[in-house]
Chain length 450, copies 2
């Protein structure tokens, strides 16, 4: 029995260790801090982006569920510790500390599928310096990748309006990044993915058509279509651009009848071809046969086809590469710490002060301010305690409490949240043209305005 | 005992299945072909790029070793087969076929570290259609990612001339892509990586400095430097731009003495800062203390610092995102097949013929043509049997023979090959400016000109 797509909590593969998906300096800083006595200081790290990719109106949070899996699997096993000590990367006391490592702190974050803006504190990690610094690399890897993909995907979904989009970019990105990309795209509103592992691991619905190689394998296009229809039924999608599109469409309807599911066009001028094929299908009585177009589409290519008789899009390269922004430029910064290891010591705000790459010290909270019409008008980031206004939406939710994962949810929840989060944004958010973030970020001390 | 970096054959983690890192349509095409009787036809698929990323002079082959691992691990286990059948993705006969799947064909490819050009057949896969089509997605995922990273890395290495480059982009890309990126960068000439898993899994040498958070953790920069020096020794690299660079450099030399290993500058105008810090270090007698610069560097940023007193670079984002070209746009195309399953039947060239995305039918071989001065002047791609000329360098090497992996080699071999392959290119190859491929691709029928 396989759970329904999108409705189950992702499984955790605890055999798949994540502790070495880490920059060496995290461990050498740990070692130096253990030795200097500062490792046990309480610390707060925050993840944020100084800006969105050029011209983008909003970002989309994704990867939270994967990050929780990674935190849970963050353990140093014997082979890993041997590698670290044999290569002189850490000394024995540090290795002994790592052997017992379990993250015991707290994490809050923007919920998966929500939107974010410049300086939004999308993750807040609180623990000892030692335990929190170790998570830096893997947390950033996951969030930078998945947020970049989801942010691009959301624009494509908006451009496609109500037409479905298949994610089919696996072949254009690292083989495991492909699985994460399919997951992120689904959260942002893609309908299905071609990636089978994303189906198995996360329950993302899978889909597929066929390739030119399948047609070329057979003695004729007719033989190939017959073979596909015999195996997959008349609801399948036939690829019609291997030789001559008009002839292929005629053959397809002749073989499958007017109830043929769909045809796919993967090359040429997709708008022109779609119109021509629609007319031909209609003239052959195949009025319900859908037209799926693929081939180097991005959000702009999708938008340009809005008036064309297209029933679905397949998007590959531009999705998995973040459509020009393959990383979300998120950083993980220490913003506060105690002067000692005392649990009750007050936190002191800290920040880099030299030229370039500024950051703001102090632990943040954040609300999205909503007007009387239900539209967001500000991202308010507060340093210190907050008292949210009546219509403000608090953005940080608990993800890990005293080391225990408390923030797991289904992909469906994240997907639904994304629909609501985009609906809440002002209309400018949906413009594909380059511009300012749809909602300005404002900083306040000691809580947002009432 | 840990083997020396770069000298060992990468281990294979056969528990880490790769069979579902695959597009759904590969399996549904298989099912249809099994049913129509065409699955057993002998087939040749080729991997090539129609063009290099805009303006690039050459591409770099990487990922071959990872691909061989993936082919070896390409098995459908019980859980995977259950997923496929329970979700109606394949029928029972297909699942039974998949259960026994082992690739039994032949693979040739450009050796890892070699250069490639448009239409270079960097991988040739020969087997039954059924067994070869299944490898399409994972082969393209690995090669598209790793070639993109290595191609960008090589330009950075050329720009850096003899100065070392640390790969430190893990946090800006998917956590497993980061490991592959570190490996690809090392092949292309990077010196070290920050990524510990790349050290453990592939033997890439690891390196690291420290982060601003480490300085901010301590009560003063002086305390932080003392802690780092006490733990890591005077050969360490101190990060000097948290507060005031001049004061930090003074403190660093005061604490470590003139034999301090290095200082790192991560922000501001790196050229100006490097000159200023060099003068200060020299005036303090720390003439051998190196200066490492980091912070949004790409090949152009590196080249712009050629005249600055910089001893090493750290590169992150631009490396892991392929410096504007995050995928190599490689495709996997059926180019020849038999009319039946008979082993001895002649191969028939096949190719898509409609508008857009052209490909050339027929199995290819390739040589790099070398002039009397040892410089490459053409990439000759031959359809049919070849008779390489005296100075031609044959480019395809055996990787898999009758299903057995025969092409494994150490990273060191790939790294050495890359040095030779770049040295063989004409001088235009090393220009960072946009232009044509450094070597033109020419097609011939029946072998290259003698």
């Amino acid at each position: 029995m396989v759970p329904a797509p999108g409705l189950r909590v992702p499984p955790v593969d605890v055999d798949d260790g994540t502790a070495l998906l880490t920059d060496r300096y995290e461990l050498t800083m740990l070692q130096a801090a253990l030795r200097s006595g500062t490792a046990g200081r309480r610390a707060v790290f925050e993840v944020f982006a100084r800006s969105l990719p050029a011209g983008r109106r909003y970002g989309v949070v994704a990867g939270v569920g994967r990050l929780l899996d990674a935190i849970e699997a963050f353990r140093f096993d014997t082979a890993e510790l041997e590698f670290l000590t044999a290569n002189g990367i850490v000394d024995d006391p540090t290795a002994q500390w790592l052997e017992k490592y379990r993250f015991s702190g707290n994490v809050w974050g923007y919920a998966e599928g929500d939107c974010y803006f410049p300086e939004s504190p999308i993750l807040v990690v609180e623990g000892t310096f030692a335990e929190a610094v170790l998570l830096e690399t893997v947390a950033l890897s996951i969030l930078n990748h998945d947020c970049a993909i989801a942010s691009a995907a959301s624009r494509m979904v908006q451009a496609a309006q109500d037409r479905p989009i298949i994610e089919m970019g696996s072949r254009r990105t690292h083989e495991r990044a492909a699985v994460a990309a399919a997951r992120a795209a689904y959260i942002a509103g893609f309908t299905t993915t071609s990636n089978l592992e994303a189906g198995r691991l996360y329950g993302v619905p899978t889909a597929g058509t066929s390739a030119h190689s399948f047609t070329l394998l057979h003695d004729s296009e007719r033989h190939a279509f017959e073979a596909q229809l015999a195996s997959l039924g008349g609801g399948t999608t036939l690829l019609v651009d291997t030789y001559d599109v008009e002839r292929a469409v005629r053959t397809a309807v002749e073989l499958a009848g007017p109830s043929l599911g769909a045809v796919r066009i993967d090359s040429g001028d997709l708008g022109v071809m779609a119109r021509r094929v629609r007319e031909q299908l209609d003239s052959l009585g195949a009025r319900d046969t859908r037209i799926v177009v693929t081939g180097d589409l991005d959000e702009y290519g999708i938008a340009a086809l809005a008036a064309a008789p297209v029933d679905g899009y397949g998007v590959g390269t531009s999705l998995v590469t973040g459509s020009g922004a393959p990383t979300a430029s998120l950083v993980y910064k220490l913003v506060a710490r105690t002067d000692g290891a005392d649990e009750d010591a007050p936190m002191r705000p800290v920040a880099k002060r030299s030229a370039g790459k500024p950051s703001r010290g102090g632990r943040k909270s954040a609300v999205r301010r909503i007007d009387a019409h239900g539209t967001a008008y500000a991202e308010t980031v507060s340093i210190g305690e907050t008292a949210p206004g009546r219509r403000d939406r608090a953005l940080l939710v608990p993800l890990v409490r005293d080391g225990e994962i408390v923030g797991r949810e289904s992909l469906r929840d994240a997907r639904d949240r994304h629909v609501r989060a985009v609906a809440e944004l002002p209309a400018t958010a949906l413009q594909l043209s380059k511009g300012e973030p749809a909602v300005p970020t404002e900083f306040v001390e000691g809580g947002p305005r009432a």
